[in-house]
C-alpha cells in the first residue's frame, strides 16, 4: 500500500511544455500556422515571399473580421449565419449606389440594411428567444430576397467600385496591404472590448450562465441586441472591404465566407456553446484557413481529394489544439 500519489511527481519535460502551451493557447496555434507555411514552402519553393504574404493577409482579413462576428456571437452561445448576406448586401448596394450618389450617402445606404438586419436578429434572439441559428438563417434568406428584388431596379445603372475601397482592398504600401489600416483598429477594438469593457464581460457572462447574468441585473435583450447589431455592422464593413478586393459585385459575393468564418473561430479556440474563447485565437484561425486554402490549391490532386484533405486537416487541427490546451 504505497502512497505514491502523495509524492509530488517529477514533471517530465513533455508535460512542462504542454502546460506551458496550455497556459498560452495561442502558441500552439501559431506553431501550427508556421508548420503549414513551411509545408507550403517545401511544396513550392519560393512561394513564401513578400507578395504572397500580402495576398494572404488580404484574404485573411475579411475572413478574420467575419470570424470576429462569429467569435462574439458564439461567446453568448449564438451564431450569426447572416454575416455573408449582410456583407454581400452592403457591398452590392455600395457598388450600385455610388454610381448616382454622393459617397457618404452611398455608404450610409450600404450600412443601413446591415444595421436593420442586426437589429431584427437581436430582437428575435434577445426578446423572442428564437434560436440564433434559425433567426440569422431566416434573416439571411429574407435579405437575399430583398437584394434580388433590389438588383432588378439597378441593372440599368451599372456598378462601380469606389477608388477608396479599391485602394483599401487591393492596395499595398511598403509591402503592407492597406486593408491592415482597417483591420488593425478593428482587431484591437474587439480584443479590448472583450477583455476590458463591461460589454465584453457581459458577452461571456450571458453565454456562460444567462440566469446568473440576469440575477446580477443584466438585461439579456439589451446585450444580445447590441451584439447582433455590432456583428452586422462589422459584417457590413467587411462587405465594403471585400468588394474593394474582389471588385465584382455579385449577389453571392461573401456567402462562401460564412462557414469558414465559423471554422476560424472554432479553430481559434472559441467554444460554440458560449462563455469561452477570444479574438486573438480567431485571427490565427483565419490565417490558418487561408494558408490551408492556398496549400490545397497548390496540391495537384483531384478536387474530391482536396476536399477530403481539407476536412481532415480542419478536424485534425482542432483536435490537436484541444488536446494541447485542455488539461491545464
Amino acid at each position: 500500500m504505497t502512497d505514491i500519489a502523495t509524492m509530488p511527481r517529477p514533471v517530465s519535460f513533455g508535460r512542462r511544455i504542454k502546460r506551458f502551451m496550455a497556459d498560452r493557447p495561442l502558441i500552439p496555434l501559431i506553431i501550427l500556422l508556421i508548420i503549414l507555411v513551411a509545408i507550403l514552402q517545401i511544396l513550392r519553393p519560393g512561394i513564401v515571399n513578400e507578395r504572397w504574404l500580402a495576398n494572404t493577409a488580404k484574404f485573411a482579413i475579411p475572413l478574420a473580421i467575419l470570424a470576429g462576428c462569429q467569435t462574439m456571437t458564439m461567446l453568448t452561445g449564438g451564431i450569426d449565419l447572416s454575416v455573408g448576406t449582410v456583407a454581400t448586401m452592403s457591398a452590392f448596394i455600395m457598388a450600385t449606389q455610388i454610381v448616382s450618389q454622393d459617397p457618404t450617402v452611398a455608404f450610409l445606404l450600404a450600412i443601413l440594411p446591415a444595421v436593420l438586419i442586426g437589429l431584427v436578429n437581436g430582437i428575435g434572439v434577445g426578446v423572442f428567444r428564437v434560436h440564433p441559428l434559425i433567426m440569422t438563417l431566416g434573416t439571411s434568406l429574407i435579405g437575399t430576397g430583398f437584394l434580388q428584388v433590389y438588383q432588378r431596379t439597378v441593372i440599368a445603372s451599372g456598378a462601380k467600385i469606389p477608388d477608396f475601397l479599391n485602394w483599401l482592398g487591393t492596395g499595398v504600401t511598403y509591402g503592407f496591404p492597406n486593408a491592415l489600416l482597417l483591420f488593425v483598429p478593428v482587431a484591437v477594438l474587439i480584443v479590448f472590448m472583450l477583455n476590458r469593457t463591461g460589454f465584453g464581460r457581459l458577452l461571456y457572462a450571458v453565454g456562460d450562465n444567462e440566469r446568473a447574468a440576469r440575477l446580477s441585473g443584466v438585461r439579456y435583450w439589451q446585450v444580445i441586441t447590441a451584439l447582433y447589431v455590432l456583428s452586422s455592422l462589422l459584417a457590413g464593413i467587411t462587405g465594403l472591404l471585400y468588394i474593394g478586393l474582389i471588385k465584382a459585385p455579385s449577389l453571392s459575393l461573401a456567402e462562401p465566407l460564412v462557414l469558414p468564418s465559423v471554422a476560424a473561430a472554432v479553430i481559434g479556440g472559441t467554444s460554440i456553446f458560449g462563455g469561452r474563447g477570444g479574438y486573438t485565437g480567431t485571427i490565427i484561425g483565419a490565417l490558418i484557413l487561408t494558408v490551408l486554402t492556398t496549400l490545397l490549391t497548390i496540391l495537384q490532386m483531384p478536387e474530391g481529394g482536396r476536399r477530403i484533405l481539407f476536412g481532415f486537416i480542419v478536424l485534425f487541427v482542432t483536435a490537436a489544439y484541444l488536446r494541447i490546451i485542455e488539461d491545464r
Partner: protein, 514 residues
C-alpha cells in the same frame, strides 16, 4: 475486527491539473454500518464518492469491494458491484418523466414508489417531467431510486442539504433502517445533528487526505471539528448571538416594507417589514412560497398583488436590475443559478458592475481589482483555482455568490439558504459576515432550512406556511419546537408531536457551540 470491510479504499489520489482534489484518502466501510464522511468544503468528499462510483477516474489508489479488486470504471459498473450513489447534484434526466428515468436505469417501479411514499412524498405523479419537480423532491427521488435496487453500499453526498426539516427527518429514518438491515451507507453531511443521530463511525478528510477514523459517541463532535479544520478552528469560532445585539438592531429605520403580497396560489397576503441593521429570518417547510417570496423581492417575478416599499417609497420591479438599483441583492440557494462557471472568480464578483447600459464602457481594472480582492479577503475565498469558478469546491462557490454583493455594496441582501452544503467553519464565517453587515446598517432577509441557524443569525424570524406569514418570533422565542410547530401551521401554544427533531437531543447543544 472480525468482519471484513465491504468497501476498502486506500491511497486514493486525484489531481485536477495543479489542484489536488484528493491526495491520500482512505475509507473502509463495514457491512451494516452507517459511515460518515466528513470534511471542510473542498476537502474532497465528493471527489471520493465520484471515484468510488466510477464517475471519475482516480490517479492512484486501491479499491477493494468485498475484498476483491473490481474494476469500477463507470457508474454502471458501480451499480453492478452494488454501489449506488446519490450525488451532490440531482441526477434525474431533466427532460424525461420519472417513469422513463426509472426505465433508463432499470429501476423496478413498485419498490421505487414504495420508497417514495416512505420518504414522505405521498402523491408523486411518475409521469411528471423531472424538470418540473422542485429540487428537494428531486433529491428524494434520487434516493428512492437508489434504494429501490437494494444496494449493498449507499453513498449519500449531502443528501439532506437541500431538504426541509420534514423530508430530512424521513431520510434519516430510512437511512438508519438500511444500517439495521445489514446494508452499509456512506453518509456525507455538514450537520452534526444528523451525524450523531445516525452514524456509527466517521472518516474525516482534510485537504484531500484522511486524517482520522472515529467512532461516533457523545462529545466526539469537538474532535471531529478539530480534525476537519486543523488550525483553522481558532479563528472561525464565534460566540453564539448575545441577546443585547438584538436591541441595537431594533432601532433601525424600516428599509423594506412588504404589504399584502400576492402571487397566484403561492403567496397569500404576505406582509412584513425589514429594518436597517436587521437580519430577519424566514423559516418554512419545503414549498410554502418562500421561493416565490424571494423571487418577487428580487425582481425575478412580478407579484400579482400587494405592494413593496423601499425606504418608504413604493417600488415595482420588472427585472432583477430594478431591485439591484434599489439596493436589493439576491443570493440564490442554488449556486449554479448564480455563477458563470467558466469565468474567473474576479469576473463573477465584478459582474454586477457591468450590468447597466451606462457601465458597458471600459473597465477601470485597478479599482475593480481593489474592490474584488477586498471582497475575496472578507469571505476568505480559497482562490487557488480562481481562473474558473467551476473548479472551486461547492462551499467556495457559495462564498463567491455572496462576495459579489459585498463588493457591490448592496444595502439589502436576500439570502436564500446560503449555507446549503457548507462546512461548519465556513458557516461560522457566513454567520459572522451577516451579523457584521447588519452592524453596518445593512439589512438581511435570510431563509434557512436549518433551525439552529435561526438562533445564531437572526433578530427576528418570520414563519411562512401555505403562502402566508403565520407567525413572527423574536430570536429569544424562536426555539426549535416553537418554530417547528409554526412551520407546520399549528397555532402557538398548541401541543402536538411533530417528529423526532422536535424533541432535540442534548447532543445538538454541543453541536451548536462548535
Amino acid at each position: 475486527m472480525t468482519t471484513n470491510p465491504l468497501l476498502d479504499a486506500t491511497g486514493v489520489a486525484k489531481n485536477y491539473g495543479a489542484v489536488a482534489g484528493l491526495r491520500n484518502a482512505s475509507l473502509s466501510v463495514l457491512p451494516g454500518e452507517v459511515h460518515a464522511l466528513m470534511g471542510a468544503n473542498g476537502a474532497g468528499k465528493s471527489t471520493l464518492v465520484k471515484i468510488l462510483t466510477g464517475a471519475i477516474k482516480a490517479d492512484a489508489g486501491r479499491i477493494l469491494i468485498r475484498g476483491k479488486h473490481l474494476d469500477v470504471r463507470s457508474p454502471a459498473d458501480a451499480r453492478r458491484a452494488g454501489l449506488l450513489p446519490v450525488y451532490q447534484e440531482p441526477s434525474l434526466i431533466p427532460d424525461l418523466d420519472v417513469l422513463s428515468n426509472l426505465r433508463l436505469t432499470g429501476t423496478p417501479v413498485e419498490p421505487f414508489r414504495a420508497w417514495v411514499r416512505e420518504l414522505g412524498i405521498p402523491n408523486l405523479d411518475i409521469r411528471d417531467t423531472a424538470r418540473d419537480i422542485p429540487l428537494a423532491i428531486l433529491r428524494v427521488l434520487d434516493l428512492a431510486r437508489a434504494l429501490a435496487v437494494e444496494p449493498d453500499v449507499l453513498l449519500l453526498d449531502e443528501m439532506t442539504a437541500a431538504l426541509p426539516a420534514n423530508l430530512a427527518e424521513k431520510v434519516l429514518e430510512v437511512v438508519r433502517r438500511q444500517g439495521d438491515a445489514g446494508r452499509s451507507v456512506i453518509f456525507i453531511s455538514h450537520r452534526f445533528v444528523e451525524i450523531s443521530a445516525l452514524c456509527d463511525r466517521a472518516t474525516v478528510l482534510r485537504d484531500g487526505s484522511t486524517v482520522g477514523v472515529v467512532d461516533i459517541e457523545p462529545g466526539i463532535e469537538e474532535r471531529i471539528v478539530e480534525m476537519m479544520l486543523g488550525t483553522r478552528i481558532e479563528k472561525t469560532r464565534v460566540a453564539a448571538r448575545a441577546a443585547n445585539d438584538v436591541a441595537v438592531a431594533a432601532g433601525g429605520r424600516t428599509r423594506l416594507s412588504v404589504r399584502n403580497l400576492q402571487l397566484g396560489t403561492k403567496l397569500n397576503d404576505v406582509s412584513f417589514d425589514l429594518a436597517n441593521g436587521e437580519v430577519a429570518g424566514v423559516f418554512a417547510l419545503e414549498g410554502q412560497g418562500q421561493d416565490e417570496l424571494f423571487a418577487a423581492l428580487a425582481g425575478s417575478i412580478r407579484p400579482s398583488g400587494g405592494t413593496i416599499d423601499v425606504d418608504g417609497a413604493p417600488v415595482k420591479f420588472s427585472h432583477p436590475s430594478d431591485a439591484i438599483q434599489a439596493g436589493i441583492a439576491y443570493v440564490p440557494g442554488d449556486r449554479s443559478e448564480a455563477l458563470a462557471m467558466q469565468r474567473s472568480v474576479r469576473e463573477n464578483i465584478a459582474l454586477p458592475f457591468s450590468a447597466g447600459l451606462r457601465k458597458w464602457g471600459p473597465i477601470r481594472m485597478r479599482r475593480e481589482q481593489v474592490v474584488v480582492s477586498g471582497a475575496i479577503g472578507r469571505l476568505q475565498i480559497d482562490t487557488r483555482a480562481q481562473g474558473e469558478v467551476q473548479r472551486l469546491s461547492g462551499g467556495n462557490q457559495q462564498k463567491v455568490t455572496i462576495a459579489r454583493w459585498i463588493a457591490a455594496n448592496a444595502r439589502t441582501i436576500l439570502c436564500f439558504d446560503p449555507t446549503r452544503g457548507i462546512d461548519v467553519g465556513t458557516k461560522q464565517e457566513i454567520y459572522k459576515l451577516l451579523r457584521e453587515l447588519a452592524g453596518q446598517g445593512k439589512s438581511v432577509l435570510f431563509y434557512t432550512s436549518e433551525m439552529e441557524e435561526v438562533q445564531r443569525v437572526c433578530d427576528r424570524v418570520i414563519v411562512i406556511f401555505g403562502g402566508r406569514v403565520v407567525d413572527t418570533f423574536s430570536v429569544e422565542e424562536a426555539d426549535e419546537p416553537a418554530l417547528m410547530r409554526a412551520a407546520y401551521g399549528l397555532p402557538r401554544g398548541a401541543r402536538a408531536d411533530v417528529g423526532i427533531l422536535a424533541d432535540v437531543r442534548p447532543a445538538s447543544d454541543a453541536e451548536a457551540a462548535s
